[in-house]
């Protein structure tokens, strides 16, 4: 199948849950779905054996200005097949950052989901392990380093850390 055919197949498979389709560049297709439908969409792709789950990207979109509408976390589930990259994208608000786990469909997704939980504070019900994967054991709860609002712990924290070391 040529890449155009692959893209068409993916778009058709995902049609029941699709909010929007975007073709950002050659060999790429973005399909936007609601968080509640993410798992169904992933299932459809896996059942049809359309490519493999390649990566999970988190994006933080803070509110444009102070007091404006709430910020969101966007999760991009990238699937690859031949030259084509399909990204199933879903956005969740800061106040309810919940996306259901896809681990019972793709068992190896556990590492990616743990990364998304730690770095962006997304809550993933049904994920098999919520243990720390990447952050240090003494990293404070509720601090998500890849959110734009995190800008480091500042001088004070560094001094404290130096003090502890001494």
């Amino acid at each position: 199948m040529d890449s155009e055919g692959l893209i068409q197949t993916a778009v058709e498979l995902l049609a029941p849950w699709t909010l929007k389709v975007n073709r950002p560049e050659e060999n790429r297709v973005d399909v936007f779905v609601a968080p509640d439908h993410l798992k169904d969409a992933v299932k459809a792709i896996v059942r049809a054996q359309w490519g493999y789950f390649s990566a999970l990207t988190g994006l933080d979109q803070p509110p444009a200005e102070e007091g404006a509408t709430e910020g969101t976390i966007e999760a991009l589930y990238h699937f690859c097949r031949g030259p084509v990259v399909l990204s199933i994208r879903t956005s969740v608000p800061y106040s309810n950052p919940v996306i259901e786990s896809i681990c019972d469909v793709i068992p190896s997704a556990t590492l990616y989901e743990r990364e998304l939980m730690e770095m962006f504070g997304v809550v993933i019900p049904g994920t098999p392990s919520t243990d720390r994967l990447l952050l240090a054991d003494d990293w404070p709860e509720g601090v998500y380093p890849l959110r734009k609002s995190f800008t480091g712990f500042g001088e004070q924290k560094l001094e404290e850390a130096d003090g502890n070391a001494a």
Binding site: P24, A55, T57, C80, G82, T110, L111, P145, L146
Partner: protein
């Protein structure tokens, strides 16, 4: 009682010298592993976060330092992605030099792995020889770039140095020696009976498993999955210099040895081909300091498999977000699933079989669920594996 025969075996995270840290925990029932888990992050440096406060050029240096073994592919993946966002393309000669370096890097990486994996199996002669021969390609990389690692070949918009005739002659001479040695290694890993006892039928991953777990690179290809970014989505000069896919249907450790060794021949062939048909012309194009807003995915084939970059620009001098998914992460996920059901004695070889970017770990505690605990080092686990097989 059933539960008392179960042990949890944590391995890692510290290793003082050669290798990198990671922590695994194996639950064992007698000799058989019944559960496996992994804890990463001991060398997590926050590079993705750091990227957001550096400009595009600074990031090229930062991302080259993600990995000391396959540094060049990281810089290449980033450079290609940023160039695409900027709407420019590196000149043909620069593209050819990029993949020339990538193949030299693959040779060094595969030979490094061959040595490490042989060592874990107790085959130190092979380890010594393969690392001695690896010095040939290290010298070539140094003569081209000035560095044994972190070659810093790339600029956004091209490469920094040219390949001259004197380099060409040295590379061709080096390849001749390496090719002869590689033929010998292929013979060893397919005929040596002691070695085969540790690799044949061990750690087998079926094609279905490899597909489902999203394995990449030689690990996937050794399970018969025809997956290679250089073939599936050729980038840079791979469009002019096509790669022949190396696969093996067996899916066991032996297949992983065979696939990587055969890939060395393919790299030798490619490099000769590139040197014979190196396009003439410029090495760089101009790229604006500010990169137009947009998102792109850049995929390249690292020695360990598909390297995935998601790059987002907001139109400024610094990236909005760079997401990196390294091939080892995919392969970790798969090996933790495949480890279940195998012998504890096979763990060192199974772990090194995926060519993990950090291979192992020093401290290992063997805990009885009841009371007694025993501390092992990775080296002891390795020796345990070797002794176990000596008794057979």
């Amino acid at each position: 009682m059933e539960t008392q025969r179960k042990f949890i075996v944590p391995i890692g995270p510290q290793h003082p010298a050669l290798k990198e840290p990671g922590h695994f925990q194996f639950t064992v029932d007698g000799e058989i592993v019944t559960d496996a888990s992994v804890r990463l992050g001991y060398v997590h440096r926050g590079i993705e976060k750091g990227a957001e406060s550096r400009n595009w050029t600074q990031n090229l240096y930062l991302f080259e330092r993600i990995c000391g073994i396959c540094s060049h592919v990281h810089a290449t993946a980033l450079a290609i992605g940023v160039e695409r966002l900027a709407g420019v393309q590196a000149p043909p000669r620069a593209q050819a030099i990029r993949i020339l370096m990538a193949e030299l890097e693959r040779i060094h990486s595969h030979l490094l792995w061959l040595g490490v994996a042989a060592h874990e199996g107790g085959f130190d002669t092979l380890f010594m020889y393969s690392w001695r021969d690896r010095e040939i390609v290290m010298d070539l990389l140094e003569s081209l770039s000035g560095n044994r690692v972190n070659y810093s070949v790339n600029l956004i918009g091209g490469v920094k140095f040219d390949v001259e005739d004197k380099h060409r002659d040295a590379i061709l001479r080096g390849l001749d020696t390496l090719e002869e040695r590689t033929r010998h290694y292929l013979n060893v890993v397919t005929t040596d009976r002691t070695f085969l006892a540790r690799t044949r039928g061990v750690g087998t991953m079926s094609r279905e498993q490899a597909e489902l777990f999203g394995t990449v690179g030689p690990t996937a290809r050794a399970s018969g999955v025809a997956r290679d970014v250089r073939v599936d989505a050729p980038y840079e000069a791979y469009t002019q210099f096509p790669v022949n896919l190396v696969t093996d249907e067996r899916g066991d450790l032996m297949a992983r040895f065979v696939v990587r060794t055969k890939e060395l021949f393919e790299s030798y062939r490619l490099i000769r081909e590139i040197l014979d048909h190196l396009p003439a012309g410029e090495l760089t194009v101009r790229v604006p300091r500010k990169i137009p807003a947009g998102e792109t995915v850049s995929r390249v084939e690292a020695p360990r498999g598909e390297l995935f970059y998601f790059i987002k620009s907001n139109g400024g001098e610094k990236p909005e977000r760079i997401k990196v998914r390294t091939p080892s992460l995919c392969n970790w996920a798969s090996v933790m699933q495949v480890a279940v059901g195998h012998k504890l004695a096979d763990m060192p070889m199974i772990l090194s079989g995926i060519d993990p970017c950090f291979s192992c770990n020093d401290r290992m505690v063997l805990i009885d669920r009841g009371s007694s605990a025993q501390v092992w080092s990775w080296d002891e686990l390795r020796r345990y594996g070797i002794e176990y097989y000596k008794k057979l």
